[in-house]
């Protein structure tokens, strides 16, 4: 059973074909990178997988289940996590509250009406654990909008992990980060367990080659190449169209 599988996905917006016949299959624990130039359909692909967008054709399978017709929240509850590309946090809430929101739902506590949230120590404890993991425990009480950019991305990751997903989509996790911040993020991602399957959309080739087990290359909404990093690097069409002046360093 694959962790995440999309089959013959197509998405047309009027005359524009954002995705055509895209099929991707990842096995459990795999780190799959999706690369391609801007407009290749990477964002649309993620949107279809999360459920934000309904495909014109094709199916999405999450751990063997057809989720194509399911709304966003239902897929999240089936173990699909998502780290947003631009920080999509709860700006006016504190860092701790942000993560608690994620944890409390996962623990089924969110519907509790009559007991104060602070009484649920298990929730707070898990949240603090997660913050420790991403290095944000010191800023727990800070309002999310006051965090530095790199810290906000770390919080993004923490929230995505808080729901204990089985499949995690990372939408350009290192976008807009300095080299130092990028290094930290890559380190963090490397610590994620192999029980978790990752699908990473990335532009930074360094990051891709450091993290990916397999790479899928999208171009104009179609899969033009797929394979191990070595395979893809050696593929002449990919080199020509996309990697361009990239010289592998490792």
């Amino acid at each position: 059973m694959s962790a995440l599988r999309v089959s013959q996905l197509s998405k047309h917006y009027g005359g524009l074909a954002a995705l055509t016949g895209v099929s991707i299959e990842t096995h459990t624990g795999e780190r799959r990178a999706i690369i391609g130039p801007n407009g290749a359909g990477k964002t649309t692909l993620l949107d279809v997988i999360t459920g934000k967008v309904t495909p014109t054709q094709g199916t999405v399978y999450l751990r063997g289940r057809d989720v194509t017709a399911m709304p966003v929240y239902a897929r999240a509850n089936l173990g699909l996590g998502y780290m947003f590309q631009r920080s999509n946090l709860f700006d006016s809430l504190t860092v701790l509250e942000n993560v608690c929101l994620a944890v409390q739902h996962h623990r089924g506590i969110a519907r509790q009406l009559f007991r104060e949230a602070v009484e649920f120590e298990a929730v707070t404890a898990s949240a603090v654990q997660l913050l420790l993991r991403v290095g944000l425990d010191a800023v727990q009480k800070q309002v999310a909008s006051t965090l530095a950019y790199g810290e906000q991305r770390a919080l993004e990751l923490a929230m995505a992990l808080a729901t204990e997903p089985r499949v995690l989509l990372l939408d350009e996790p290192t976008a807009g980060m300095s080299p130092a911040e990028t290094k930290e993020m890559v380190k963090l991602i490397k610590t994620l367990p192999r029980s978790l399957t990752l699908m990473i959309v990335e532009h930074d080739m360094d990051v891709v080659f450091r993290l990916a087990d397999r790479i899928t290359v999208l171009h104009y909404g179609e899969v033009v190449s797929e394979g191990t990093p070595q395979d893809v690097r050696a593929d002449p069409t990919v080199q020509e169209n996309y990697l361009g002046a990239y010289t592998a360093t490792g």
Binding site: N77, F90, L101, A110
Partner: protein, 328 residues
């Protein structure tokens, strides 16, 4: 300069938290004995509208649902109570016992809230605003047109003060002081209840929905259910306020449903401070009391309210509480 002054007030209030609260409670308890009948009536009125405003705060301030039709439930509560208790020919006049009327009001408003919420919550933002406004107007038009049941534009009169009890042990809230204590008690219970709710995980979820609903869904929340629950809860509490209003003024009229009533509640929440629960209480006091004061000087109280609203929206969007807190 003013900022320093406010900071000092804030500091004093924060450090004398318990004392202030205790003082407020004592004042509330001895109130009927210390003031004239007229001032007592004002106090009852303020408490009733405070309940109404708090319920709207749950909806708007915490969940982020801009309802412009909340008076629908306020008036509905009044009419349901009126229909069951009033001695006029149009109504049933069955009982004034709270043991019966209270559950009926709760059930009635909950039912309507479920129906309206199911429809209105399919929309959000501006659309939700328009829909709630339209639905409230629909109820208003029913109240005006269905004269045989609602008494038309005159409404239903002859509503007695409530009683409470079974068989021999029946207490009647006939005189003003005892009715005041009834209203105060209900206010305190609802205040306590709402406070717990907004601090609960459910309350946190509502706040999350207000700040970023899309993110909540990505986290797995079925946001519709949460909004729905908040909507029904807010509607029922508003209905309870309406019930008390009808019992206090001995009548239920279409004006209770009119958009200006919804608008007034909104002003109370905004001026007091949305999302704070205390703010709307202060707002209710201000909005009910100021026109009384102002009317001795001018007839233009509506203009005054509009100006106040605009000033707060432009310069103090966090309301009075926001100003005291240093405008967050």
């Amino acid at each position: 300069m003013i900022a320093n002054y406010l900071h000092d007030i804030r500091f004093w209030l924060a450090s004398h938290h318990q004392a202030v609260l205790s003082a407020a409670v004592i004042v509330a308890i001895v109130y009927p004995f210390a003031v004239t009948t007229y001032i007592l009536s004002l106090g009852i009125e303020v408490l009733i509208f405070a309940i109404f405003a708090m319920s709207l705060d749950l909806l708007l301030g915490y969940t982020g649902l801009p309802s412009f039709g909340h008076a629908a439930f306020f008036g509905l509560g009044a009419y349901i109570l009126a229909y069951f208790s009033s001695h006029s020919e149009l109504a049933l006049g069955l009982t004034d016992n709270l043991l019966i009327t209270l559950p009926i009001v709760i059930l009635g408003t909950a039912l309507v809230a479920v129906m309206l919420g199911f429809l209105a919550l399919r929309t959000s933002g501006i659309y939700f605003l328009m829909i709630t406004l339209a639905f409230a107007q629909m109820l208003f038009s029913i109240a005006i047109r269905w004269s045989s049941v609602t008494g038309g534009s005159d409404g239903l009169t002859g509503i007695p003060r409530p009683t409470l009890g079974i068989g021999q042990w029946k207490y009647s809230f006939d005189d003003r002081p005892s009715f005041y204590y009834l209203v105060l008690m209900i206010f305190l219970i609802l205040w306590w209840m709402l406070r717990r709710i907004v601090r609960s995980p459910f309350g946190l979820a509502l706040r999350g929905i207000r700040v970023n609903e899309q993110r909540m869904r990505a986290l797995g929340y079925n946001t519709f259910r949460y909004k729905f629950a908040a909507f029904v809860l807010a509607g029922v509490i508003a209905g309870l306020a309406g019930m008390l209003l009808a019992q206090f003024f001995w009548h239920a009229v279409p004006q209770n449903l009119f958009w200006s009533m919804s608008g007034q509640a909104l002003i109370m929440v905004i001026v007091g401070g949305a999302g704070t629960l205390t703010g709307p209480v202060i707002g209710a006091a201000l909005i009910r009391l100021l026109p009384n004061l102002a009317s001795t000087y001018t007839q233009r109280s509506e203009t005054f309210m509009g100006v106040v609203l605009i000033l707060f929206v432009l310069f103090a969007p966090g309301g009075i509480i926001g100003v005291l807190r240093g405008r967050r």
